[in-house]
């Protein structure tokens, strides 16, 4: 189970730079400004749920207003919830590895699987153990993506990008950026060595360290999402390791030279889910909203959100041909077949990983 520390770290690093300002606003204005009346639904979500194209159809259908509060990490969400009164919030978007932790705080309502379009969702996601606690479902996956490689296909050989060996390929010396998030990067290296992320032990770390440090000659810079995007767009690097659709998909409609993929050796997934608050006074409306987001139309809007693009969980998501191409929609079955979820490791392993990461950054 991911601790609060891990959830803060996990979410802050992945999305803080795309959600930052909005998240801060959420933290500083805890309660919905308009209060909680019969014609409103209060949702605590990531920035990709704030688009009108996602919310307006539901508001129009139910003649309600959706009050959206965005946050930048499960830790921040829990903090907001703890400063609110029970029943203030109706729907929560959550990183699925954090579901057991939030359930442990008694915040989430059990979900009746018969009311959810589970058969429409991609199988590997619905079977993910994270959504259940003691056999009861508390979250349903709505969107996912990968840690892989994003690149400029005018500068690299796309065939090279399919192999994790590209991380050490001399051809790209000094042309590589790394998205600054240590444990997925090291888990990717582990996968390239045939070690599954959840099986990484202390004994594996010296080998992973050696491979990580061996990457350094290829590395031009290490940075957050905005920084690595800038480096790729400005031509300072040709690829971003540990990046994928969440880094470049939103840019690809206007920058068709950008692309992304996962490695043949295996992909590393992140998954976000929807939950309903146990104390919600509008559970029916909240579950209707969950179903709206999971609907083909809602999934299309969510996948191509202005904040960041990623794969919809629903295989029937309404996407244009161009959007499907950008999201490599036709390849998802194969991608999912060789991908595993990124998991939060044991505290001692995690601490050692951070030390190795610091050493990697410092290496000349």
């Amino acid at each position: 189970m991911g601790s609060l520390r891990n959830t803060i770290r996990r979410k802050v690093t992945r999305r803080s730079f795309v959600a930052g300002a909005a998240g801060f606003a959420a933290a500083s204005a805890v309660l919905p400004k308009t209060g909680h009346t019969a014609d409103e639904l209060n949702v605590l979500v990531w920035c990709d749920h704030a688009d009108k194209k996602l919310l307006a159809p539901f508001e129009a259908k139910h003649n309600i207003k959706i009050n959206v509060k965005t946050y930048e990490g499960t830790g921040a969400a829990v903090s907001i919830i703890e400063q609110s009164s029970p029943g203030d919030w109706d729907v929560l978007v959550i990183d699925t590895p954090d579901v057991p932790m939030v359930v442990g705080k008694g915040l989430l309502a059990p979900m009746d699987e018969s009311t959810l379009p589970l058969s429409d969702l991609l199988k590997p996601l619905t079977s993910a153990a994270f959504n259940h606690v003691n056999g009861v479902r508390y979250a349903v996956p709505e969107k996912f993506g990968y840690y892989g490689v994003a690149y400029n296909k005018e500068k690299v050989n796309p065939a090279d990008m399919r192999s994790a060996q590209v991380m050490w390929n001399n051809k790209y010396k000094g042309r590589v950026a790394v998205y600054d998030y240590y444990f997925p990067t090291m888990q990717l290296i582990a996968i390239s060595m045939g070690i599954k992320p959840d099986a990484i032990s202390m004994n594996d770390l010296p080998k992973i360290r050696e491979k990580l440090l061996a990457m350094k000659p290829n590395i031009k810079m290490v940075g957050d999402i905005v920084s690595v995007q800038n480096a790729l767009v400005n031509g300072d690097v040709d690829m971003i390791i540990n990046g994928a659709e969440f880094v470049v998909s939103g840019l690809m409609p206007t920058m068709p030279q950008l692309d992304w993929t996962i490695f043949d050796e295996g992909g590393l997934m992140w998954i976000q889910g929807l939950s309903v608050f146990k104390d919600s006074k509008k559970k029916k409306l909240a579950f209707d909203f969950v179903n709206h987001v999971l609907s083909p139309e809602g999934q299309g809007a969510l996948a191509t959100s202005e904040c960041y693009w990623a794969m919809p969980a629903n295989k029937k998501a309404v996407l244009s041909a161009a959007e499907k191409k950008i999201l490599r929609w036709d390849e998802q079955a194969a991608f999912l077949g060789r991908s595993v979820p990124s998991t939060i490791g044991r505290a001692d392993i995690d601490s050692e990983m951070l030390d190795i990461w610091t050493e990697f950054l410092q290496k000349k």
Partner: protein
């Protein structure tokens, strides 16, 4: 009750002054002294298996000073800061001198405004703006290639050079202000007297102007040192994390591992460096001269 021999008005003024200082004392106590003491205490604790253990140990200090890649962050910070300082002073001094002695007084205010313009933009924006200039597809490379000076873009972004560039851009302006403020206080009569006694312009500069301007340089240099060595944004954005400085190492410990004890050790080390620098240049720090 008024003190014997003192006028009542003076006593009231004294009492008011005494009470007026209390908010500042309370503020300093709450927001500086107590957090500082807490940081020192926490630096002797440990984070084990994801939990803070309030057991007294010097393990964090041993780790910081015992691992090359952590100690190197301190060396990097000091090197980058000293390099920034040296270049900034070399650029700022002539600028301040020209401003104080060569620019007509009616234009000085306007030039001063131009000097402080960089302060009007946000730090993060300024750093990202530099990337637009020095990146491979940036304005500078495009211009150099267009005029035929180079045929391949220069690699300027992401590294120590870019970090120092970002720092120098900011701190040259700061140092210019402190040095200028000091130079304009030097009485013109000193220069005239020296000239009357036969000193040439170089002698006047090295024997009168420069020695008297050292407090302005010292104050600017100290402020520059304190801000630069503790800065996180510039090395993170322009440096591209190709090397780790102490503020970045602190952020790694806090944001990624919530390891406040280790972060405290690093912060205290940084503070000790600043205190040492203060004692080295303290005798030149005369705030009344700027």
């Amino acid at each position: 009750m008024s003190a014997p021999g003192k006028p009542v008005a003076a006593n009231i003024q004294f009492e008011l002054s005494r009470w007026a200082v209390h908010p500042a004392i309370i503020f300093t106590l709450v927001f500086f002294i107590i957090p500082l003491v807490a940081m020192v205490i926490i630096s002797f604790w440990q984070r084990i298996y994801g939990k803070l253990q309030a057991s007294w140990t010097v393990a964090n200090y041993e780790k910081f000073f015992g691992r090359d890649y952590l100690l190197e962050a301190l060396y990097n910070s000091i090197e980058v800061t000293l390099l920034t300082l040296a270049i900034s002073i070399l650029l700022a001094y002539p600028l301040a001198y020209i401003l104080a002695y060569k620019v007509p007084s009616r234009w000085q205010r306007f030039v001063l405004i131009l000097t402080v313009l960089p302060f009007w933009t946000a730090y993060v924006v300024r750093s990202y703006s530099w990337l637009l200039i020095i990146s491979e597809n940036g304005i500078l490379n495009v211009a150099l290639i267009a005029i035929g000076l180079i045929d391949q873009p220069l690699e300027m972004a992401y590294g120590r050079g870019a970090t120092v560039l970002g720092f120098v851009h900011f701190f040259t302006m700061l140092l210019t202000l402190t040095i200028y403020a000091n130079l304009v206080q030097i009485k013109a009569s000193y220069h005239k007297a020296a000239a009357d006694l036969g000193a040439n312009p170089l002698q006047i500069f090295f024997r009168i102007t420069f020695p008297l301007s050292i407090p302005g340089v010292a104050v600017g240099a100290f402020i520059t040192f304190v801000i630069a060595i503790g800065d996180y944004i510039t090395p993170q954005i322009l440096g591209g994390s190709t090397e780790v400085l102490v503020p970045q190492a602190i952020m790694l410990q806090i944001a990624r591992a919530a390891n406040f004890p280790m972060a405290s050790v690093m912060s205290i080390t940084l503070m000790i460096v600043v205190v040492i620098v203060y004692f080295i240049i303290g005798k030149y720090l005369k705030m009344d001269r700027i």
